[in-house]
Symmetry: C2
Subunit: 193 residues, 2 copies
Amino acid sequence: MTAITPPRMTPTAVRILDTAEVLFYLHGLRAVGVERIAEEAETTKKTIYDRFGSKDGLITAYLAQRRDRWHAYALAFVDRHEPDPGAARVLALLRALDSWMDDNARGCGFVNAYAELAGTGHAGLSIIADEKQWTRDYYVELLTEAGIADPQRRGRELALVHEGVVVQLTAGAQPHAMADARSLAGRIVGPWP
Amino acid sequence: MTAITPPRMTPTAVRILDTAEVLFYLHGLRAVGVERIAEEAETTKKTIYDRFGSKDGLITAYLAQRRDRWHAYALAFVDRHEPDPGAARVLALLRALDSWMDDNARGCGFVNAYAELAGTGHAGLSIIADEKQWTRDYYVELLTEAGIADPQRRGRELALVHEGVVVQLTAGAQPHAMADARSLAGRIVGPWP
DNA sequence: CTGCGAGTATACCGACCGGTATGGTTACGT
DNA sequence: ACGTAACCATACCGGTCGGTATACTCGCAG
């Protein structure tokens, strides 16, 4: 039995993880050392290793927390802005992304993490795939409850646009990409010729 | 005058750059040390620094070479497979990406590099933006020569799909994403309701 | 009262990092 | 023949990396 102990989220562990989330997202995984996280979280390396076991453990916890945070954000945004099933509710998920990116201008944290983790057998890779699948599935779910035809395929198409716009806005240096994404998404959701 | 001396591409410099391109793409920028590049290129750190000045200089040269290689590949692919203007020729650019990714399964090297460089003032960042703009512009150009209406907007939409499918195929772990991208792109290029 | 978990503080480890220094060997153009 | 550019080999530099060890304080539950 090699049961993996999940980190015990003591108050200091919460502070560590919140600090790590900011730094990892802002500067990248390898660019941020454990010592710097300890300093900015006002604790010590010892405590980080007591709580998370290793830097890889901390990275995994970071990805899981970020995934959960995005899911909660998207769910709440859609429910609050478009509570009723329909095309507008589907498109609200893209608006959630737009709003989310106001505070996340460095692109998709999962794509960025993938860039540094792919090829290694890192535990965080499955969390990254998880997040992408969740967003695809949520589009499909919203299309289904809206009674729109062929929700699976349209959901996957919306997910394509969803990921594409993030890249264009950041690496692509295309500040108006969201408008294109919205109009394209509107046509994917709308009636078909 | 602080004229930047471009690297003199001696035979060894070519070997260094080719090795760097493979290693940087496969493992990431920070994950690969100068010493390892020297070993695998069968040369020495001294020569690397003589030719490229610094690791950042080598990274910049890597991005420039990769950009040029993709441009040449895309141009040649489209011309060879669909020499005549029209919708099929526009879609051939997406097929070029499909083919390109057979040997580049780790996603977009520029998006990956952006993940590690964003926020720094690295010279490579403008090369990344360059590449994204070139691909967008090429879509627009192909649409224009095909005589398709509203080529600017459709070009930007195709570029969205283009970037989106790479993310879904790699970080998204969605092996069938290319089929969705193709059918969506087909509708973007095709007649409008 | 005692034991324990949480946390602090600090020193340390070997390995590796980007980058430099020294010195020597070839090949080639003038 | 001589200078120069390209390259090789190796040792070295200060700094940082992930991770460990030691020793201490504090609050709390038995």
